[in-house]
């Protein structure tokens, strides 16, 4: 069994309380960092660890930290992005619910490294129970001298606050999150300037995902070099994968990056295969925004090599035959799922969540939703697939923030890999809504055409 760095103690009764967490070695990273390391040395360890942002972009965390501007006499901020809303992703909620002190500990160490005196955890508004949990954990840590003035007798002081969002997917984009934290609509800002130069209140700011911040704790405890030994190539360390959809054992799993995708999907230690004895049709490997893959391409790359759960291997083949690690929101589709319906569902999501700032995204997502709706409900035309590709190309790359790309990719990839299923919806309009094209030649082993028209 692979080593757990984040979830090692997740099943210990009372691990959500300060005392139990502390008895399991908790807050050792705070002691080590504040008493034996300088802020720059902490940044150096995180750089050595090779940790990549766990929110979706995969940008090296240590490098992001080293970009932070440090002008004299100007406040700096660390903001934790806990606005987890990417369909398929629920790891941050899990972590905050069960082991909140890990996040608090990471926040203290990271704030120390960046020289922040005030830090915020921006939690999506629907997670009110998690907000209460974090506020309680912060109060406990403060009472024990790990937060507030002169932490552990050092001259470092830190205030940590939890900020609720208002239910907007777009606030997971870091500049929209900062706008929201300033009490405004979540409209992403034009970059540059990047938050590292002008972020919260115009001050230098770092925004990191919950899991990235939590990973700082084992990195400091064991050293960046030790952390980098886990994983494979430039995908170092462990990653939380939120596994959902038609799985026998859905849930949050911590894996060593580089685990074979087939093992993750079928072994009893992880997802345990597809529920109800069915077969796998398709996989969304990293949250709804990443390209969907048919089972055959998910399990093996186009060069017939086993696909691994790592940033590089999942991206193998680019958008032609690969996908992305994204946020680790893993959705499995069984043979009875309709790809057209799913694509329409995602398009509706992006249309709903578009902030409306950029015309290509605001209008384009709406048109994609409408066209996909008519395909799913049996009113589609053969030219609709090309129309959808055309619209998606006009959104992609033409917006301020990546929501436009995130809306375009699932549609383009679904048509690329499942075009015959879309065409079947046009040629079988009466069966399109109630029936299912089946798993055709998408699944492993291939090929087998099954058209169910019940």
């Amino acid at each position: 069994m692979a080593r757990k760095l984040l979830l090692e103690h997740i099943n210990v009764p009372g691990i959500n309380t300060f005392d139990v967490y502390r008895s399991k070695g908790g807050y050792a990273a705070v002691e080590k960092a504040l008493k034996t390391l300088t802020p720059d040395e902490v940044v150096e360890e995180v750089k050595k660890s090779g940790l990549r942002g766990r929110g979706g972009a995969g940008f090296p965390t240590g490098m992001k930290w080293s970009f932070l501007a440090k002008p004299e006499g100007v406040e700096r901020y660390l903001v934790c992005n806990a606005d987890e809303s990417e369909p398929g992703t629920f790891k941050d909620r899990y972590l905050m619910t069960h082991i909140p002190h890990l996040l608090i500990e990471g926040m203290i160490v990271a704030s120390f490294a960046l020289g922040a005196k005030t830090s915020y955890i921006y939690v999506r508004g629907e997670m009110m129970p998690q907000i209460r949990i974090l506020e309680k954990a912060i109060a406990e840590a403060k009472a024990k001298g790990f937060l507030g003035k002169n932490i552990l007798g050092t001259d470092y002081s830190l205030e940590l606050y939890v900020q609720p969002g208002g239910g907007a997917y777009i606030c997971g984009e870091e500049t929209a999150l900062l706008e929201s934290l300033e009490g405004k609509r979540g409209n992403p800002r034009i970059k540059p300037p990047f938050p590292a130069i002008a972020g919260l209140y115009g001050c230098p700011t770092v925004v990191n995902n919950v899991e990235s911040i939590a990973a700082v704790v084992p990195i400091i405890n064991e050293g960046g070099d030790e952390y980098a030994k886990l994983g494979i190539g430039r995908s170092t360390g462990t990653k939380l994968i939120s596994a959902g959809g038609n799985l026998r054992k859905p849930g949050v799993y911590e894996i060593d990056l580089g685990l074979p995708a087939e093992e993750f999907l079928y072994s009893d230690e992880y997802c345990g295969g597809i529920a109800n004895g069915k077969r796998l049709k398709a996989v969304v490997a990293g949250g709804s925004s990443v390209p969907i893959l048919p089972a055959s391409l998910f399990l093996k790359t186009i060069n017939n090599e086993p696909r691994l759960m790592s940033y590089e291997s999942l991206a193998d083949g680019g958008f032609v035959s690969g996908t992305m690690m994204g946020s680790g929101g893993f959705i499995a589709y069984d043979e009875d799922q309709c790809i057209v319906r799913n694509t329409w569902n995602f398009a509706r999501f992006y249309h709903h969540e578009s902030c409306g700032q950029c015309s290509p995204c605001r209008e384009g997502t709406g048109w994609m939703e409408k066209v996909l709706h008519r395909l799913e409900y049996g009113h589609g035309k053969m030219s609709d697939m090309d129309l959808l590709i055309d619209v998606s190309k006009k959104i992609e790359g033409n917006t301020i923030c990546p929501l436009g790309d995130a809306a375009a990719w699932p549609v383009a990839s679904a048509i690329r890999h499942f075009r015959d299923e879309f065409e079947w919806h046009v040629t079988n309009p009466s069966a399109a809504l109630s029936g299912n094209y089946g798993i055709a030649h998408y699944a492993d082993p291939l090929p087998k055409l099954e058209v169910a028209t019940s």
């Binding site: 406040e75 987890e84 809303s85 990417e86 369909p87 398929g88 992703t89 629920f90 941050d92 909620r93 005030t118 915020y120 999506r124 508004g125 629907e126 997670m127 009110m128 129970p129 205030e159 606050y161 900020q163 609720p164 969002g165 208002g166 239910g167 907007a168 997917y169 929201s180 934290l181 300033e182 009490g183 405004k184 609509r185 979540g186 209140y201 939120s242 596994a243 959902g244 959809g245 038609n246 859905p250 849930g251 949050v252 969304v284 709804s288 929101g329 959705i331 589709y333 799922q337 319906r341 799913n342 569902n345 995602f346 999501f349 709903h352 969540e353 902030c355």
Partner: protein, 174 residues
Amino acid sequence: MLSVQDTNTPVTFSPELLSKFADVVSRYPAGKQKSALLPILHLVQAGFGWTSIPAMDKVAEYLDIQPIEVYEVASFYTMYFLKPQGKYMLEVCRTGPCEIVGATPIMEHIEKTLGVPEGDVTPDGLFSWRGVECLAACGFGPVLQIGPEYTFYENLTTESVDKLIGDLRQKVNN
């Protein structure tokens, strides 16, 4: 329960609510009190059931910002109700991962059980329901949440939904 026509009803914030507001405002640097807007709107909604125009005007006055700055925020974020809802607002996740494990049948069942379409309030003022986008509980779908505490109900079946609605009815009657 206020109705839509009662939007001119004056709103008074209790001393308890005002002290919660002050606690929120203290989290931000001086002059950045607008940051308190989202948390304060949550507190207002928890207290009054929705965010009415008079309540938003009072919030603007409290934070020393223009009323439009409150309206534009309340209308941007989906969690703020701009009209009164049932005492219990059932919000069912309808996005991909929940959809493929049966969110639509759950919503159809809720509609049938409560007898009101999405967004409407039952005649007794107790319930309303709507489909919402991903609630980050994709491994435990279908899920629904009920404010203002946003308690989650996971792995829903038609039976568990019936029990939930029954329990809530009983809670009110007792």
